[in-house]
């Protein structure tokens, strides 16, 4: 499968690039050429991994949280302004800021779950709509009342030095958030496959009627997976701010939510498989960025390659899944 996608990549390079071999090699090998590129790859995989873990849990529980974009953005924004506000509290303040961000995003996602259990509304649609509204509201706040007056950038003030996560692979941007993500990967697996709640989620996801019959509360299984995935998205947003951006930049979360969702689907809702899937995704996007910087590969071309490879991988997994049934 990987060989095939490489071959496809090569074909596209031959077709569109005047220097095909150079484009191809920077695409494929670029991310591994230096610690700087490798670190950035891992760093961009981090929030995607966290978000997709939440999605794995929610999808296994039968809930489709399509509001990741807004929930990440909200988490990041709250974390940024709280960090500034709570700077006097030191490390405790940082933890508090992250917790509040997680809670806020979890509540927003949980609302969709609540609506579903009360009125049978589709959580997919309601979470998407709420998230779109949130993005606009946060956009206003970032460019309006909370904009950093010292720059012309559309972003909030920088968070205090003490709150920033440590870099673990200089000169790259890679922060210790990666370690948190790896720990969560394991925790999500434990939650889904070893705890009572995980058991209930999985059964509810595959057969809600059987769960009700067996005495599992349907509303719990409609709300809790949404709350958890919202919380994971909130965490992804706040760790991006604390570890990478140091402020809430306007629309920093763009595409993160959808990409995390795509990763969870590629990983077939399995939290451990989400790790390789998010690394693959990050490799693809950083490879195309490097190819763009070094050669005449255009943005469109890079996106086409990304989309093609992505489609291919999804197909491969979908077929495998069909065969195994």
């Amino acid at each position: 499968m990987i060989l095939f996608s490489l071959a496809l990549l090569l074909c596209l390079c031959l077709l569109f690039s005047p220097t095909p071999m150079k484009s191809f090699s920077s695409f494929v090998l670029g991310p591994f050429e230096s610690l700087y590129f490798l670190g950035n790859l891992l760093n961009s995989a981090t929030p995607l991994l966290i978000g997709s873990l939440g999605m794995c849990i929610s999808l296994q529980g039968g809930s489709f949280n399509l509001g990741g974009e807004g929930q990440i953005y909200l988490g990041g924004f709250l974390c940024a302004i709280l960090s500034i506000g709570l700077s006097s509290l030191g490390a405790f303040g940082a933890v508090l800021a992250v917790l509040i961000s997680i809670l806020a995003a979890a509540i927003v996602a949980g609302l969709s779950g609540l609506f579903k259990s009360l009125w049978k509304t589709s959580e997919l649609i309601s979470s998407y709509l709420i998230s779109n509204a949130l993005i606009l509201i946060v956009n206003y706040l970032v460019t309006g009342p909370f904009q950093d007056p010292s720059t012309n950038l559309f972003s909030t003030q920088k968070i205090p030095q003490a709150f920033r996560l440590s870099k673990i692979l200089l000169p790259s941007d890679l922060s210790s958030a990666l370690l948190i993500a790896l720990a969560l990967c394991l925790l999500s697996w434990l939650l889904l496959y070893k705890t009572k709640q995980g058991y209930e989620f999985r059964l509810y996801g595959s057969n809600p009627r059987f769960c009700q019959y067996g005495g599992i509360s349907p509303s719990f299984c409609q709300i809790a997976p949404m709350v958890i995935s919202g919380g994971f998205y909130g965490l992804a947003g706040s760790l991006s701010v604390l570890g990478t951006y140091y402020s809430c930049v306007k629309e920093f979360s763009s595409q993160m939510g959808f990409n995390a969702l795509a990763i969870a689907l590629i990983a077939r809702k399995h939290p451990i498989l989400a790790l390789p899937a998010s690394l693959f995704f990050a490799w693809l996007s950083s490879g195309s960025r490097i190819a763009m910087q070094r050669t005449d590969v255009t943005v469109e071309m890079a996106l086409i390659v990304q989309a093609a490879v992505f489609l291919l991988v999804t197909c491969t997994f979908a077929f495998k899944r069909k065969k195994s049934l």
Binding site: K196, E200, R202, L203, S206, N207, R209
Partner: protein
């Protein structure tokens, strides 16, 4: 002339061997019955012939040529068609549209609906079917839907018709009509393969019968040489007697366990009563049966008992406790034992393991401090599996089990609960004689040990064999309550079930 030759076909699903080296000849223009118990491999073998499954080893030759069937479309092109146990029809389309699906007649760019209707109607007339080409599938009864399914095969000019337990859902008169149709098709030179476990059907319709036992071919016999004793001993190893009637006269003296007091269920926003002032009392040590034609409220009664459907009026009391409108969750907390009629999606989760299916009611016990106790749950599940001789292992997926084994697993789980009463809804529907007898024996043993049992069933033989009292449900209310003594028989019950229905119309 041998049309199809199956040569040592073997197919395993995981550790379960569904078909083990089966060699079978099927001749042109015969009606062949494939008979066997649940899980004997009948359906799997036919799915292989239809190209829906690939055998692990062995080969199929069609008219002397080997290796023609590699996929469902290959089989279809050769003229091998199958009517599945569960119908595969698009319910919002007409009979003709369903029949022609995939090979529509066209006029230019557009579908030629008129020509299709005419062609389908011609086949209908030729076969003496009762349906119309232009009726919507939704408006058909079960028997008529089956005609539509057979029509699909005839439209595609199938030479070999495979029918998977076609009579499971039919009434006696519908079955007789189906058999007439099959004989007529045979006269036209079609080859018909019938999967069944009903012995009287084998004797009534087939030319030959192939008997499968635990995935192996136990023999291919001419039906003319068969009688019911010989056939049942071949199928089950022992000759089964018809079940003895229940005799348990003291039931009335015992104390009440479940009381329904004027229970009403209304259709949302309408005045139609789905359950109409239902009142009855279930005592310990008795089996109370509910018999009804489909559509007379037995499904709603089941939903109320399972905690799925809230009631509008009345009270339900169990052992002094008012359990009116308890959710399934609360009913489970008091130990509800309930074997649902829909065993595939309500009673079990097909995409979970057998163990996960077995622990659901007792799950608190197996997650001490929220974390799964792997050893205890495995031990619990293994012990239920061996106690109820379910042919499965704890870690197997529920969907890899046969229907009979799924029902055994559900029974094992429900009877491990110790609620005040037990609800059985259609407990033996579609099961073979041996499994049915085992379930009946278990129910009698439970009754004799003093448990209170509610049996909802449309099978009158079952009702008469087990119940102490029988309530006949008509249009949501109890038409009559019978004591099941020597004078009660299926004819009396049947006319009571039908009689008032005709009166009202």
């Amino acid at each position: 002339m041998t049309l199809i030759h199956l040569d040592s076909i073997t197919k395993a699903f995981g550790q379960t061997i569904a078909c083990s080296s089966i060699t079978l000849d099927i001749e042109q223009g015969e009606i062949l019955c494939i008979a066997g118990e649940n899980g004997a491999g009948k359906s799997t073998l036919m799915r292989i012939l239809r190209g829906l499954e690939t055998p692990d080893s062995g080969s199929i030759s069609f008219m002397g040529q080997e290796g023609l069937i590699k996929s469902p479309s290959d089989a279809l092109a050769l003229g091998i068609g199958m009517v599945h146990q569960h119908f595969m029809l698009a319910s919002s389309l007409t009979v003709a549209q369903n029949a022609s699906l995939g090979s529509e007649l066209r006029k230019g760019l557009f579908l030629d609906m008129e020509a299709m209707n005419a062609k389908v109607q011609a086949i209908i007339d030729e076969c003496g079917f009762t349906i119309k080409a232009t009726s919507l599938i939704d408006s058909l009864s079960v028997g008529e839907k089956q005609q539509a399914e057979i029509l699909k095969l005839l439209f595609h000019d199938s030479k070999v018709l495979i029918l998977d337990e076609p009579t499971a859902v039919l009434t006696d008169s519908e079955t007789a009509r189906l058999f007439d149709t099959l004989r007529a098709l045979k006269a036209k030179g079609k080859t018909i393969i019938l999967i069944t476990h009903k012995m009287n059907e084998v004797l009534a319709i087939s030319d030959k019968v192939a008997i499968l036992r635990q995935g192996m071919l136990a023999g291919l016999y001419r039906t003319a040489d068969m009688n019911i004793e010989r056939l049942s001993s071949l199928l089950f190893g022992t000759i089964l007697k018809s079940p003895a009637k229940a005799e348990n006269p003291e039931a009335k003296a015992k104390k009440p366990v479940l009381v329904f007091d004027d229970v009403c269920v209304k259709k949302r926003n309408q005045k139609v009563l789905r359950l109409d002032h239902l009142s009855f009392t279930l005592h310990e040590g008795e089996i109370l049966g509910f018999a009804a034609m489909e559509g007379n409220g037995i499904g709603f009664l089941e939903a109320v008992l399972g905690g799925f459907l809230p009631i509008k009026e009345g009270r339900i009391i169990s052992q002094g406790l008012d359990i009116t409108n308890f959710s399934s969750r609360k009913l489970r907390q008091m130990g509800l034992c309930y074997v649902p009629s829909d065993r595939m999606s309500t009673g079990s989760c097909q995409d979970a393991s057998v163990m996960e299916n077995l622990i659901i009611a007792d799950r608190k016990k197996f997650f001490p401090r929220w974390v799964l106790d792997t050893k205890a749950s495995k031990a619990f599940s293994d012990s239920l599996i061996s106690q109820y001789s379910v042919q499965a292992r704890s870690e197997m997926m529920m969907k890899s089990l046969s229907g009979g084994n799924i029902q055994k697993a559900i029974l094992a789980r429900e009877l491990s609960q110790n609620g005040p009463y037990i609800v059985f809804a259609q407990p033996t529907w579609g099961l073979d004689i041996a499994s049915t007898a085992a379930i009946w024996d278990r129910m009698k043993a439970l009754r004799d040990s003093g448990r209170a049992i509610l049996l909802l069933s449309s099978n009158l033989t079952e009702i008469l064999a087990l119940c102490d009292r029988v309530a006949v449900l008509c249009k949501g209310h109890i038409e009559r309550m019978f004591i099941n003594d020597a004078s009660l028989n299926a004819r009396i019950l049947g006319s009571c079930m039908l009689g008032s229905k005709e009166e009202e119309q």
